[in-house]
Symmetry: C2
Amino acid sequence: MRPEVDCGRFPVKRVVGEAVQVEADVFTDGHDAVVAMLFFRHESEKAWRSVPMEFRHNDHWAARFQCEKLGRYEYTVRGWADPFLTWQRDLRKRRDAGQDLSVDFLIGACLLPESTPLRGILADAARSGEERFEAAMKIAPPPPEPARVTSYERVLEVVVEPLHARFSSWYELFPRSVRGDGSHATFRDVAERLPYLADLGFDILYLPPIHPIGVTARKGKNNKVSAEPGDVGSPWAIGAKEGGHKAIHPDLGSFDDFAYLVEKAKQSNIRIALDIAFQVSPDHPYVTEHPKWFRWRPDGTVQYAENPPKKYQDIYPFEFESEEWPELFDELKSVFEFWIAKGVRVFRVDNPHTKPFAFWEWCITELRRQHPDVVFLSEAFTRPRVMHRLAKLGFSQSYTYFTWRNAKQELVEYFTELSQHPSREYFRPNVWPNTPDILHEFLQKNGRPAFISRVVLAATL
Amino acid sequence: MRPEVDCGRFPVKRVVGEAVQVEADVFTDGHDAVVAMLFFRHESEKAWRSVPMEFRHNDHWAARFQCEKLGRYEYTVRGWADPFLTWQRDLRKRRDAGQDLSVDFLIGACLLPESTPLRGILADAARSGEERFEAAMKIAPPPPEPARVTSYERVLEVVVEPLHARFSSWYELFPRSVRGDGSHATFRDVAERLPYLADLGFDILYLPPIHPIGVTARKGKNNKVSAEPGDVGSPWAIGAKEGGHKAIHPDLGSFDDFAYLVEKAKQSNIRIALDIAFQVSPDHPYVTEHPKWFRWRPDGTVQYAENPPKKYQDIYPFEFESEEWPELFDELKSVFEFWIAKGVRVFRVDNPHTKPFAFWEWCITELRRQHPDVVFLSEAFTRPRVMHRLAKLGFSQSYTYFTWRNAKQELVEYFTELSQHPSREYFRPNVWPNTPDILHEFLQKNGRPAFISRVVLAATL
């Protein structure tokens, strides 16, 4: 049976309007004629819909159903050996061989309910063989006895998302830098850029974190460990006295300004994507309000982020193994809900692989139940099994290794994998030519022609 | 996880002394150090045995266990993120970077039970950093908290059979024809051939059915539909007034003669394989004793075997959909048990694909529970899915398409499939150069050299 991900542990993915082509080996012992049916239903439907499967070759059958709306569909396959179809098939062979069919007609009649039209002709020994044969061929097989029907061991699922979960063109900018003259810009400045971005063909505008930025241990320019006065800090050091993940950096504007940006974007057919980075600066209100959401060291300090021997003192990770994990999970989910209420439906999730798999599966499933149009992009630059797991758990799209695939052979191999491997059922690539923290040597050394070729590849592959 | 057949629905196969190489992707979110263990036990053991898995590459781990005895083994994989191993790994990186470790030593001590040897040194601020570091590196991680351990979703199984289930050289002969001078031979004549067969290198002697042969609608020589007086009939038309599947054809000898043959074979290191053909002649005692085990036609006759438009009036198939199927299943299983009690441990099963899959799974599993050394060869010349299903259900070996693969390319492709495809975990090929009813054109036309080359291929491939 396919598509099926990890023995049905995870759903496959589709977007509205796409079909699921279901293929299965359906066979039984002996030589009886087999019938195979695909069953499917949307999560909102109680009754199964069904479509007959078509025999392909070598006991392999296929059928498809259309994903008409957002949400989850279930599907499975049922099959049975059909005594009447078997009898019809064999009757034709016997008749073609010129055999006497009188007993066979009676056998066929016994396979039918009394009320079956034409059954009388079939059973009527006074009629001619040819008349009875023609009646036999016209009779539709009665529905199978339930005990004859074998269902596939599992009911499988498909998650149906909006089209832009599969195909969308993302543009990333730092709102504060959008003026280009070095002065600190706002959401209203960003709004002015929208027609230009729409004209370029982009349909999603992704903003790095827009929240207040911490001052404790703030990083400086050009890799400097400490900030100079006036340095703006990294937007990923989220949280200050002005607020945390549910606040806006005062320099960028108000909630009204943000609403204006979302509305203007809509007019340009552009969706605003926000960055969800589940970490805090030491100044985030969570640190004092929920000390148990962090890991405390024996010296009474909070454990800051590390990738030993590297230290990131301006960032505190959450302690997901805290005894207060249920409250932490709920609060983090509510961050998505907060911005969903502000009109955001697309989220780029920062480093999801450093938060629990179990959190993502629960959080995304719950959010999607209420808001099946929400799209999640996984910013996981890590090992393939982990990136694939995040995709299985629910992320709509994922960052990829595209940035590091520059030679022709590399591109051919990688895009063959992305487009042909069974992982295509759940892993949707998003190919960024570069990002603020990854500028490949190829782009660094080869100037504008390199950027152009990478953009064209990203757009067309 | 592999090996795994159909999401664990079916066991894999091994013979005594073979290992199961288990491979699994084991990983978690974040950057913690991961431990993976393979767990296994024989069905006779209550306690699991375990062996640490070795990291290979790309989150892939491997370990193996030895199948020491007949029967079933269970196996699965468990993994966990280990806080102490993670701490040790990071401590080394911090120390190599020359960082102050005083707080880290205290963090490490907190991860250990009070009673851990060397913990005191680790926690002792009066000791030198190097002394504490060396103590830290010597401490074995404590066993994981049960809540940290993730088990693979399924416990998988392996069926362990005797070596000859995997590799054995079969010789087939009709006992009545063994004299070679046209006179009707007996088991005692067969026994005289045993040293010759052993000398040729065969270790299994397979006898087509040895039971009384029906006289009603007996077939003649050379495809004649009716027998002439003196025609011996087909051994597969089983059953006459002398008895059925638990009787011996009187011309072949007595049960004492059969016991003599089995004993003589053992002295030549040859095992006797019997043919189990679950069908009867119209004269089989079952027909009158158990009329419900057959399908009755509206004209009051029993349905004989057919492959429309072909008719085989000398054979009645069993009606497995009879309401008396439990009695029929029990009786058929008892046929195996009858011959097991007579010293037979190898069975060649005739046309298993025309009997219910459910029957074979139940019958073989039950027989093997009592007699784990019994070997079953499936004579299924049919479609690949069906042949594979029979292998999954429990057959030790299967006939193959070898007979029809004569060109080099055909042989390369087919034996690559047999030896490299995942089906190698359950499908063991038995390659007959020819059989009494299949003599390929290649052998018909090319004489002795063709036979020699096919025998050599069968023996060496």
